[in-house]
């Protein structure tokens, strides 16, 4: 038996370490460890809840803004503030744009190199690549000349002997099976996506001043004042025209590049429709309301739970059943680590008991991660695009059912293939398309409201802390690109008393709990064949299919944190 260690896992957000046992060419066990802690928990205590979103947003710069929206929702819930319709729409556009851009970046820049051999693209015939490109998409850039140009650029880099970011790849690994022409196609689209993502995300600059970390949320609405007759208003007819241009461009990119590329590459890796199955339990809080944000029936992505891969049943989400365990996490609970705690009375007391650095292996029988282990009704759950598509499919949400069935038909495969590494990739692409289709509708709603003189975008009634009750508590949920995100806040004497976030990657990447139950990554790696323990590309394929975000996951906000003095290095 060999122990494989992958640390750092690159092409993710944050610091993740995977240890796994290899026996007879397959993984027999796996452990997922987050290796960075910031202690954001202690930092929010006593601060103004109206600015909590500015702080909470810094939990992550990849899924930027998702913690901002969850934070303002939590405080608005606590103070019982209803936001104007325009604020709901602008938040949907900002969050939807984030989802579309984030998913595209994930596929091309964080995940593709697990499937695409960049070096092999040099052997491609550009004319054949052109034929393939034209057979799968209406995309403009598909001439043999264009692909020859890309190939020359790659050749220039390779010939220089300075391969830059590509120097450390597993090129030539037998697990790469794409024909050279498809590799060239994917490399070309890697570069196209890199150029596209920065152009599209100007939508966050228009509606938030910048990306990452847009700066336009307010407890009670948005700072993006609307006025059809003011050139200096943040939202006016001119800006609406620009927003429309951007969202149409996004839809075109997803339709012309992302979806065709996924559908072209997936059938060439069919084995991966039966690997990386994972837990089979799925949780979605649901989000993206078409009207009343407090009514889950109005959501684009439904709220619900599917257990044991049984899509014939869907269960409601009961917030009281969420707990977090620290039995294998570098924390301690006041009343012992044997039982999980609900986020509303959670604790974050760091207690590092791992090996002293530099170390070769973690003590996986004891505590081994900075992530906690969230559980729903005691069960480990998977969250994210696959969870949303599975829950939406089980709920019979028409757009989702049509989208999933369309893809299954194109791949000539049954629904069971969804529960796999490739299933996660396909689900992410499909929901990206659903969202890209949705964005223009929201821009139109904003336009219509403005044209009808409905320009309110902020509710001022509770801005003044003097209007607040002595104490209040609230919950803010959001379906972030990586899955179900929840913030819990407790306010007392105009200040934050307690703040907790339970984050998508904590659900997926968390360690075992007190019962030894594996987290989603750990479960998904079981039985994965690994051809070469020194180049474990197979581990990367499944882990990347979840799109890890460890900065988010490492546990986060609980303003009850202990106070202690910090030893300083001289």
């Amino acid at each position: 038996m060999a122990r494989i260690v992958v640390d750092p896992v690159s092409r993710i957000e944050g610091h993740l370490r995977i240890e796994a046992n290899l026996e007879g060419g397959k993984l027999t066990d796996a452990w997922s460890s987050g290796t960075m802690f910031r202690g954001i928990e202690m930092i929010l205590q006593g601060r103004d809840p109206r600015e909590a979103w500015i702080w909470a947003q810094r939990i992550c710069g990849v899924c930027t803004m998702v913690h901002a929206i969850a934070s303002v929702r939590a405080v608005e819930d606590a103070l019982q503030i209803e936001v104007p319709d325009n604020a709901r729409i602008v938040r949907n556009i900002i969050a939807g744009a984030q989802m579309v851009q984030d998913h595209v970046i994930h596929f091309y820049h964080l995940h593709a190199l697990d499937w695409v051999d960049v070096a092999a693209a040099l052997k491609a015939d550009p004319a054949k690549t052109s034929q393939i490109a034209q057979s799968i998409s209406d995309c403009d850039k598909s001439s043999a000349k264009y692909f020859k140009g890309v190939q020359q650029r790659v050749k220039g880099v390779v010939d220089s002997g300075q391969l830059s970011l590509f120097a450390s790849g597993y090129w030539g690994h037998p697990a790469y099976v794409l024909p050279p022409e498809v590799n060239l196609l994917a490399v070309a689209h890697y570069l196209e996506a890199l150029a596209w993502q920065k152009d599209f995300i100007r939508i966050h600059a228009v509606l938030g001043g910048k990306n990452p970390h847009p700066q336009s949320f307010l407890v009670g609405g948005m700072s993006t004042a609307m006025d059809p007759n003011e050139p200096a208003a943040v939202i006016n007819p001119e800006r609406i025209t620009f927003l429309r241009e951007l969202v149409r461009g996004a839809k075109k990119f997803v339709d012309d590049y992302y979806i065709p590329d996924v559908l072209a590459i997936a059938p060439l890796y069919k084995d991966w429709f039966a690997r990386g199955e994972g837990l089979g339990n799925f949780l979605s809080y649901g989000d993206y309301s078409s009207g009343d944000q407090s009514d889950p029936k109005s959501f684009l992505f439904p709220r619900g739970i599917v257990m044991g891969r049984d899509i014939s049943k869907i269960f409601p989400v009961d917030p009281s059943k969420i707990t977090e365990s620290v039995a294998h996490s570098w924390y301690e609970y006041t009343n012992g680590d044997g039982k999980g705690l609900h986020p509303s009375h959670g604790e974050t007391k760091p207690k590092y008991v791992g090996p002293k650095a530099p170390y070769d292996h973690l003590d996986v029988d004891a505590k081994y991660s900075w992530l906690k282990a969230p559980r729903y009704d005691g069960k480990a759950m998977e969250v994210g695009p696959l969870a949303r598509m599975v829950v939406g499919y089980a709920a019979g949400k028409k757009e989702i059912v049509d989208s999933v069935n369309g893809a299954l038909k194109a791949l000539n495969a049954p629904p069971a293939v969804l529960f796999s590494t490739l299933g996660r990739i396909a689900a992410r692409a499909l929901e990206c398309q659903l969202m890209a289709n949705q964005l223009e509708g929201w821009v139109n709603e904003l336009d219509s409201n403005q044209a009808h003189g409905k320009t309110a975008i902020f509710n001022p009634v509770k801005w003044d802390p003097a209007s607040w009750p002595a104490s209040a508590a609230g919950r803010g949920w959001h379906e972030a690109p990586r899955g179900a995100l929840g913030h819990w806040v407790e306010i007392e004497n105009k200040a934050i008393k307690n703040y907790q976030a339970v984050v998508p990657t904590t659900w997926n990447a968390g360690p075992r709990d007190e019962g030894g139950q594996r987290g989603a990554y750990e479960a998904a790696l079981l039985n994965t064949p690994v051809a070469d323990p020194n180049r474990p590309v197979e581990i990367l394929r499944t882990i990347h299919s979840f799109d890890p975000c460890i900065a988010c996951a490492v546990h986060v906000i609980d303003a009850q944190g202990r106070e202690y003095t910090v030893p300083r290095v001289a």
């Binding site: 092409r11 960075m36 910031r38 202690m42 120097a167 920065k198 228009v206 001043g209 530099p358």
Partner: protein, 370 residues
């Protein structure tokens, strides 16, 4: 003004870049750096050297927002930076290799490029409890930073966290987080403060380094003067409203819809140094004040603790005067008109004196332009 060079032309062609594109890019960089155009030929030559200088990008206690910000770079586009301008050999969020392959790439650079490579640091460095709050490949961030920054030609600290510990160091600083220059004292470093850093400025520093083999001139916080030499308030598009006394007093009110000054809503622009209003974000599309929200002074020292509460009006925040002295803030805040001379004086500050013979790195001017 550029003499034709056959080799250069071929080199560009091999990289799929037209000469016109290259010259345009170099002109933009010179503009950002506030350097005279006569450096153009030298800059063009520097960015097309046969062997590209090596860069490694380290991520510690970060949110990856500064990496993402770099990906949004538009002039130059990030692909041009990582493939053409430099050999970008280690950067966890986008590099091909993981685990051993990644660690070996970093080891190779430290050993074979010793003293020659650039290192970018993103995120704070935890120093409490033996640095165990951040490990990569089983090594602590502190251990890695000491080795990699210690052997580099220069360190570029991007974002508030790498600058001075940023968000992670906010009270009560649970992990003993520090900025790179404090965690690894004595290294040659430039601080690209901001949350996140602005990629236009960081790209300009890279080009400056390639052109002059040195870092641009810096202020007392090691921030480059070209980007941090002026107060936001003095460059703000809403400044005329401030001077005329037209303020937003409630979110969504008439003044807010008309784009008036956000000072009374807590804007920290009057005491924040940054070229944010000028270079803006995301291909010069906008910046936070234009999105209707006050500035939070994200490029100022220890801004999280010093400039919050963010909705509290100046000067009722603890850091009043940290980044900008009361004199520099001007009389504006007390109601009198700000002397016009301030703007002029600051422009002179960031314009380098004209050395007679490039390639000497420019030094801060004494007031004489060009």
């Amino acid at each position: 003004m550029l003499a034709p060079e056959t080799d250069l032309g071929k080199a560009l062609e091999a990289r799929g870049i037209t000469r016109r594109q290259l010259v345009k890019f170099c002109s933009v960089m010179l503009g950002t750096l506030a350097l005279p155009e006569r450096y153009l030929a030298q800059t063009v030559a520097a960015v097309t050297k046969a062997k590209k200088p090596v860069l490694v990008w380290l991520q510690f206690q970060d949110c990856t927002g500064c990496s993402e910000s770099m990906l949004r770079s538009s002039n130059p586009a990030v692909a041009d930076v990582v493939l053409d301008l430099l050999s970008w050999e280690y950067h966890e969020v986008i590099m091909a290799g993981s685990g051993d392959a990644a660690n070996k790439a970093l080891e190779r650079v430290v050993k074979e490029e010793k003293g020659k490579y650039l290192v970018v640091v993103e995120g704070a460095i935890p120093t409490a409890d033996d640095g165990m709050y951040c490990t990569i490949g089983g090594r602590t961030a502190l251990d890695i930073a000491r080795e990699v920054c210690g052997n580099a030609a220069a360190t570029i600290a991007v974002g508030a966290c790498a600058f001075d510990g940023g968000f992670v160091r906010s009270q009560p600083n649970p992990t003993g987080a520090l900025g790179a220059h404090e965690a690894v004292p004595g290294i040659k470093i430039i601080n690209m403060a901001g949350c996140p850093h602005n990629p236009a400025n960081t790209a300009a520093v890279l080009v400056h380094y390639l052109t002059f083999n040195d870092l641009p001139d810096v202020d007392q916080y090691n921030r480059p003067l070209f980007a941090y030499g002026r107060i936001i308030h003095d460059q703000c598009e809403k400044r005329a409203h401030f001077d005329a006394g037209r303020f937003v007093t409630e979110w969504g009110d008439e003044g807010h819809r008309k784009g008036w000054c956000l000072y009374k809503m807590g804007c920290k622009g009057p005491e924040a140094n940054f070229n944010c209003p000028v270079v803006q974000w995301n291909d010069h599309t906008s910046w936070p004040v234009r999105a209707g929200h006050g500035c939070i002074a994200c490029a100022s020292p220890r801004f999280w603790d010093h400039m919050s509460p963010f909705y509290e009006r100046l000067p009722n925040v603890p850091g009043f005067g940290v980044d900008v002295s009361a004199g520099e803030i001007g009389l504006g805040l007390t109601g009198a008109a700000l002397a016009g001379v301030t703007v002029h004086g600051l422009i002179q500050l960031i314009k380098p004196a004209a050395p007679e013979n490039p390639p000497v790195a420019p030094t801060p001017g004494t007031g004489k332009e060009n």
